[in-house]
Amino acid sequence: MDGVHELAGVDSNFGPIPIDPNEPLFFDEWERRVFGVTLSVAYAGLLNFDEFRFGIERMPAWQYFAARYYEKWAATLETNMIEKGVITPEELEARVNKLKKEG
């Protein structure tokens, strides 16, 4: 199967290259957090870079192309933590719902 990430020479209309000399390193606080949390998990020995990339490469195309860069990090972090059994899907959904209610 060709990976959605194999972009070399792909002749699609991806639009102009986003060049912004003044861009911030992180656009939102959650981007900063997902970066730090993912590296922390890696330093803890629970995620290596092959697994990290593979979690992104398996994203469905519609998500892969719609996602912001750090949304891909969020996706692979979630995928890996659940596949490794570190977090169960149930506890994650419960926590998401709790945080949503708290606003």
Partner: protein
């Protein structure tokens, strides 16, 4: 933990076996009804409660990558190569060792194996990563948005001159363009040509005119 050890700390690679297993499972499809920020908060809070991560450690990592690394290390490498012919020769022959010789903050995570390509009047090098956004963190910091964009990744290898033109770099037809596709094992960096009119400049002054983009091939350094 020192800042340097953050970059130098190895990441476990003992779990390769999981990759084969993982292909049997479908990737978890995240619900986009949820704000991604809430999902990230949920994951962080659960991992903290389980004692896998702690807030202070996460904050320290963010601070290090946001404020303490960047392209200045790469610029020092370039400036040294411009002023020291022996170092330049070594850098082109064994980039990893020559870069590492400048200090422990020049090596580490995402920069374990380096290859420096020298621009000349005949050849201009352009760096990309078509598969993701592999990038030499210790020398250049975290990659800019364009390097991570689908457009740059798809087009660099097919129409590098058109890509360069979007960056304002126009090369003569006689200059060959070579594109280097970084990967998880090997990271590339460009040694740009030293600009005219810099004869009297010190190594430090030279480092100041070396931009991040000039070390990726998307800019020509100017005085």
């Amino acid at each position: 933990m020192s800042n340097v050890s953050l970059l130098a700390r190895p990441v476990s690679i003992e779990r390769r076996g999981n990759l084969a297993m993982a292909t049997e499972k479908s990737v978890r499809v995240r619900s986009y009804e949820d704000d991604v920020s809430i999902r990230v908060r949920a994951i962080e809070s659960i991992l903290s409660e389980k004692g896998i991560i702690d807030k202070g450690g996460v904050d320290e990592i963010i601070d290090f990558f946001e404020h303490k690394i960047g392209p200045r290390n790469g610029a020092k490498v370039v400036a040294k190569a411009w002023t020291d012919p022996q170092y330049r020769k070594w850098l082109l022959e064994d980039s990893t060792a020559a870069i590492a010789s400048l200090g422990e903050e020049f090596v580490g995570l995402q920069g374990e194996h380096m290859k420096v390509m020298e621009n000349t009047p005949e050849v201009h090098h352009l760096i990309t990563c078509t598969l993701c956004s592999c990038y030499p963190w210790p020398t250049l910091g975290l990659p800019p948005m364009y390097f991570k964009s689908t457009s740059y990744r798809a087009r660099c290898v097919k129409e590098p001159r058109a890509v360069l033109k979007e960056f304002g770099v126009e090369l003569s037809d006689s200059t060959e363009v070579r594109v280097w596709d970084s990967n998880s094992e090997l990271r590339y960096m460009v040694l740009p040509m030293r600009p005219e009119g810099t004869d009297g400049m010190s190594e430090e002054q030279l480092a100041d005119i070396v931009t991040r983009d000039s070390m990726l091939g998307t800019e020509i350094p100017k005085v």
